[in-house]
């Protein structure tokens, strides 16, 4: 390791961009969250509104909004569905590919990875068509064999319907990450076990999964962050059903406040709360698993 001015020069473009497009907007959001518009009288005409300090009142209103807690709990439940299903599926598929006991490996790997190339907005649109009972081929096929499929967008099912889109979109990416980690395991680590007669499943459970533990931790963390930010899928499905409200997830509330209600101050306050919660949860998670993934190498 060398000490010189070089690292600062290498870092300069990143730092400048970081300051301009991440730090400054976040700071600005923090400032806005403490402001509000004050209207007088009927509020019409150019002089009727002014921006004033609001103290913490925007935060108070966000936290006490009756829709806020349910939306947080909903995202929690959504995460409990998405993260285990998606990572479980990704892990199983990666192990199957890695075991190399099939001739359809290349095809299936590409096919499963394909959804990653589909933007969330378009993926939600496609699944939306597949969910609506009257236009859905799934309902068609099921009713063809005599099963009445439930309405995927009814209140009992809508959470799973949204979760399914996220699982569909994210499994392939995570599978590739885990598959790459599995390919990196030196074969001598498990050849000995194989000669001793261990089955593929035993090898997977005892050797492979523990070795790729750090990769699992990281995919878990990034999936968790993505979960907390769920937005595009319910936003696209919302107009198709009665069951997704405009504040269905906390980020949808941010969007509604900023763009529908023209109240960027409340939106900023809710944003700051979400960002803070994301930090606490991510760092908390890393503390719990005791990973030093994010720590320095020296």
């Amino acid at each position: 390791m060398r000490k010189s001015s070089a690292p600062y020069l290498f870092l300069t473009p990143a730092l400048v961009l970081f300051a301009a497009f991440l730090a400054a907007p976040i700071g600005y959001a923090g400032y806005l969250s403490l402001r509000r518009v004050k209207v007088s009288g009927l509020g019409l005409g150019a002089g009727a509104r002014s921006e004033v300090w609001a103290g913490l009142s925007n935060y108070g209103r966000s936290l006490t909004d009756p829709e806020f807690v349910p939306s947080v709990l909903r995202v929690g439940a959504y995460g409990l569905i998405v993260v285990p299903c998606m990572l479980g599926l990704a892990l199983v598929l990666a192990l199957l590919l890695d075991a190399g006991r099939t001739r359809v490996g290349t095809f299936t790997r590409t096919a499963i990875f394909l959804p990653y190339a589909v933007p969330a907005v378009i993926a939600s649109l496609l699944w939306g068509f597949l969910y609506l009972p009257r236009v859905s081929p799934i309902v068609d096929v099921l009713s063809g064999v005599g099963i009445t499929a439930p309405d995927a967008l009814s209140s009992g099912w809508v959470l799973y319907a949204v979760a399914n889109i996220a699982i569909w979109g994210g499994t392939g990416f995570n599978m590739i990450v885990l598959y790459t980690a599995l390919r990196a395991i030196p074969t001598d680590l498990f050849e000995a076990a194989r000669i001793d007669g261990a089955s593929d499943i035993q090898i997977a459970l005892r050797i492979k999964i523990p070795v790729i533990g750090p990769s699992l931790v990281m995919t878990f963390l990034f999936s968790l962050i993505a979960t907390l930010q769920v937005f595009a899928e319910p936003m696209t499905l919302r107009p198709l059903s009665n069951t997704i409200s405009t504040t269905w997830t906390p980020l949808m509330k941010v969007y509604r406040d900023a763009f529908v209600r023209n109240d960027i101050y409340s939106a900023a306050a809710t944003s700051v709360i979400i960002a803070a919660a994301t930090f606490v949860i991510s760092y908390g998670f890393l503390k719990i698993v005791g990973s030093r993934a994010f720590s320095q190498e020296n």
């Binding site: 290498f10 907007p25 001739r103 390919r183 030196p186």
Partner: protein
Amino acid sequence: MAVTTLTEHPPVVQPAPAPKRNTSPTATVLLLLGAAYCLLPVLWVLIASTKSASELFNTFTFAPSTHLFDNIAFLNSYRDGLYWRWMVNSAIFAGGGAAVSTLVSAMAGFAMAKYDFRGKGLAFNLVLAGVLVPAVILAVPQYLLLAKVGMTNTYWAVLLPSFISPYGIYLCRIFAAATVPTEVLEAARMDGASDWRAFYRVALPMMRSGLVTVFLFQFVAIWNNYMLPFIMLGDDRLFPVTVGLSGLLNQGATQPAMYTSVVTGALLSIVPLVVLFLTLQRYWRVDLGAGAVKA
């Protein structure tokens, strides 16, 4: 540097094929099921794009029709080929944004992996914090700030914020730590190479496959981004394909003939990404764990 064998010998992308072993029908069936699940909506869009507007919701879903080229022709003629402009815009945003951001990330990641300097811990923590911030939250303040310098509704409004990718920096730091041996850098410097030259001539080539990964990663992130361009752009000739298609979809509500255009447009918009992936697949390597494994 406390590294393990694993990070000194970076993961091989395509190792020598495993010894021939018996195929397992169970594995094959499970993988095919997974593939079927992932292909189902794509198959639907493929078939739906062959249908005319009157057939779309009224014939059996998986019965293909013959109108694919009519639909493409309609999309082609929609407002003088606006759709293709959207595709070109997406390519500019994603290609330009990903290229610059990969270079910026490589420099920053290299510095953090291979140098000791004051504020290194702070810089790294900033990067991590950046990874955690949702893009939706940033979009509005970014808009307001860019508006102050009169840059909204330009290509730059979408490109500039895409140049910084904390996740890309994080990945580059992992790749630099894993693939560029410190001794090689030292040797280059002994030969009188400047820091920049050592980075450009020695480190960059070694990090190549990692950089392709970061490029692809950022390319997809920008290509799929909706919120930022939606807010930044008012002129629909600057739209990327995600924003343009979602606008068409909104019109579909009142002019349902547009649904076939949306479906056909969605299909065509996936094609470039699929091609890109198939060509660059052999470089694709995201080993999130590599930087984390330590003694």
